[in-house]
């Protein structure tokens, strides 16, 4: 369960690293985001916020799950 997750994170990190270090990709990145008056930057910002809030929701969810398990363990 955990290993593929880590792989994805590593992949995303790798892509970010490549885009940071590689100047060729850099200009392509700029072109991509500059289309239609930089509207994609707004979408990127909105996506970051949504992903962040979902990550927080996930952490809360995990806490609740732990509590549920504890309660169940007590009942039986």
């Amino acid at each position: 369960m955990i290993a593929p997750k880590k792989k994805y994170i590593a992949l995303v990190l790798f892509c970010v690293m490549v885009s940071i270090t590689n100047a060729q990709t850099e200009s392509a990145l700029n072109e991509y985001f500059f289309e239609s008056g930089k509207f994609k930057v707004v979408i990127g910002v909105a996506v970051i916020i949504l992903v962040g809030l979902f990550a927080y929701l996930f952490s809360l969810d995990r806490k609740v799950k732990r509590l549920e398990k504890k309660l169940e363990g007590k009942k039986s």
């Binding site: 700029n30 985001f33 930057v41 707004v42 970051i48 916020i49 962040g52 809030l53 509590l67 504890k70």
Partner: protein, 358 residues
Amino acid sequence: MKNGLKILCIALLLYSVVSAFLHPLAPGIIACDKSTVQPGYNELVVVGYRTHFINQRTSMLVFLDCDSNRYCGKILEVIDNSHVKIGVDIPDTLSSKSLDIYVNNDGDGTLYLPLAVSVNDAVLVKGMKDPASCKFDVKNDDSTYFGYPFQPLIYETIRNLMWHVPMWFTMFFLMILSFVYSLRQLRKVNSTTKNFSSKHVYEFDLKAEVSARAGMVFCILGLLTGMMWARFTWGYYSHQWWINDPQLNGALVVFLIYASYFVLRATVSDEEKRARLSAIYNIFAFVMMVVLLMVMPKFVTSLHPGKEGTPAFSSYDLDSSLRTVFYPAIIGWGMLGYWLYSTHLRIKKIELEINDRS
């Protein structure tokens, strides 16, 4: 949090998100095809954004401006709604090297691109008044198209005002909450010296911790979104993702302060001591943070990378089309922050209760 407040929060957020995306942007000029020109006759293509050049062809005026000396351009061809080709005579003597481009028509109003072209090999005479400066009258200065203000370099990303900025406000709201709870925790510890068995002694400590955690989420979001926005506004000519912007630097310091607050909490295992020490550190660090946020903007002029051509951020707030969305967005996100905080707090309380019983 009451259900009514939750519904209000959702309504405000829906309103702000929808109008942040649906509102159009006012027309503006993005670029000119040449960045340097020679004195003499030049042909330039001016690129507009959301402009209506074809409909307003008859009332179009394009001129270059250099310290109030105007050089009118002859409109050669209106290519499409956002491209116009002009021919302009640039004299040998100018009062400064860079020229601003103005476009005016009855529909779009006066559009302006500062420092658009620079002239090579021109004789510079400071403050000269050119008699060849052309005369004309402008019928309509303001745009008839309603929308968010068009700012150079920022363009559509002005919508981030409804996304990125509320993150900071929410963070501050939650950090202030954490500070207040830390103060109350210290006072409580003082007044109940003997009675440590009571369960509610550390309630304020728990609240301070949880609100700092929720605030931290918004701090991280503010940092990431700020990085993204700043990079595509100022940083695209360098290969850096971190832009030397005082706001961004200050935010990182806030992040560091609260990260060390959690490190401190993790190192101390004794409950009473943890409550006391972390409250003390929270109060001390919060005051330093406030001073820092007073200090940082003082260096704006020396640090801000977009000094040329980037407008001050405060000018956003002046526009009424932004204000009607911006304030609801801040209130809505603030309420969402409080909602998340209270949910997290309830989970923590239940956890403590279950641990107590077992």
